[in-house]
Symmetry: C2
Subunit: 202 residues, 2 copies
């Protein structure tokens, strides 16, 4: 016998499918929504329904864009330097970099990383369009901003090889101690990288 | 300039209104839904829309029930002892007790606790219907299962006074060390209660 009526069960199960939300959190959220004004759950429902139908990928950089706009806001903006291209794994990474308010170039979203184990090769990522953008000639510098992980590094290495001889400056985000971090708690690899990449205080 | 298109922003903001979900979790969930099959977000949207319109309160115990059923499944079940009444604060507490699979009586949901600070008095809770149920005469025992907090205890005390002289057995859930817990980490009050409530090993 189900203890809770179907509508409650349905919502709890639907919430449980989200990452990081277990059965307990799911029922807590369900009962929160039950007590909250109906407007809260309806707004969420509406946003969910609109999500897929009203978004698409920018035809230039493959970031998320509104489905009625072929190019994203960053690609159409004339305030962004089209000579700089920051290559990231996911649209979420664009968001993280934009939050820094310290990058004024454009982006290129790969939508994944090379991963032989999962069978993801260069053809599964937006690598060919990246090479085309570079060969079009306007790009001066490419910042490889894939994650500092095994796959991210391998993807960056592959892109570096593909772009060799294009005459474009290729850089990678710096590794080292995170700001506000503690030397004592830094892992071995981070510390090794911080040592190797030490900078002159002129 | 908003970095992400409106549909993404909308969903992120709607998710941020849920308890325990901050801006970062909200955008992670949004991008998860963006990559997941559309069916996932649509199922969630549907469950959210149905939530309020298809649920109501049981007219007997005030637990959540389907809006087309005046009484909840527990109140209509003839397998549940109608002589036992477990008084809880919220419908979520019913769920927790049902999960134990060790209680076979019925429930009464107060929908809150007495809280003079927040201006919640006896009239704001489902206390009058509880007294009516008891006076109807079928109830033998009432388990006061409000939370072991200041307000929960005060509410239990108030109910105990109201029910005095009704001839019904009134009990309160035991306090003590949680199963699997560690004596070393138990707080002072819990340990005091565990001492006071120590049981004979015959």
């Amino acid at each position: 016998m189900p203890v809770m009526p179907e509508p409650i069960e349905n919502l709890t199960l639907a919430l449980e499918r989200l990452p990081g939300i277990g059965p307990k959190t799911a029922s807590r959220l369900t009962f929160f929504l039950l007590r909250a004004p109906e407007e809260v759950s309806l707004a969420l429902a509406e946003a969910l329904t609109a999500l897929k139908s009203s978004t698409g990928l920018c035809e230039e950089c493959f970031n998320i864009t509104r489905s009625d706009q072929p190019k994203c806001e960053i690609c159409v903006s004339d305030k962004r330097d089209e000579g700089m291209l920051c290559v990231v794994e996911e649209p979420l990474d664009v968001l993280a970099l934009e939050r820094t308010a310290g990058y004024f170039g454009r982006y290129h979203v790969l939508h994944g990383v090379l991963s032989p184990i999962e069978g993801i090769g260069p053809e599964d990522l937006k690598i060919r369009p990246l090479l085309e953008r570079v060969h079009a000639g306007k790009v001066r510098e490419i910042i490889l901003a894939t994650n500092p992980s095994m796959e991210g590094d391998a993807t960056a290495l592959y892109l570096q090889q593909q772009l060799a001889g294009s005459g474009v400056r290729i850089t990678r985000l710096a590794r080292g101690l995170p700001v506000g971090g503690d030397l004592e708690y830094a892992d071995q690899n981070t510390l090794l990288r911080a040592l190797a990449g030490r900078q002159d205080l002129s």
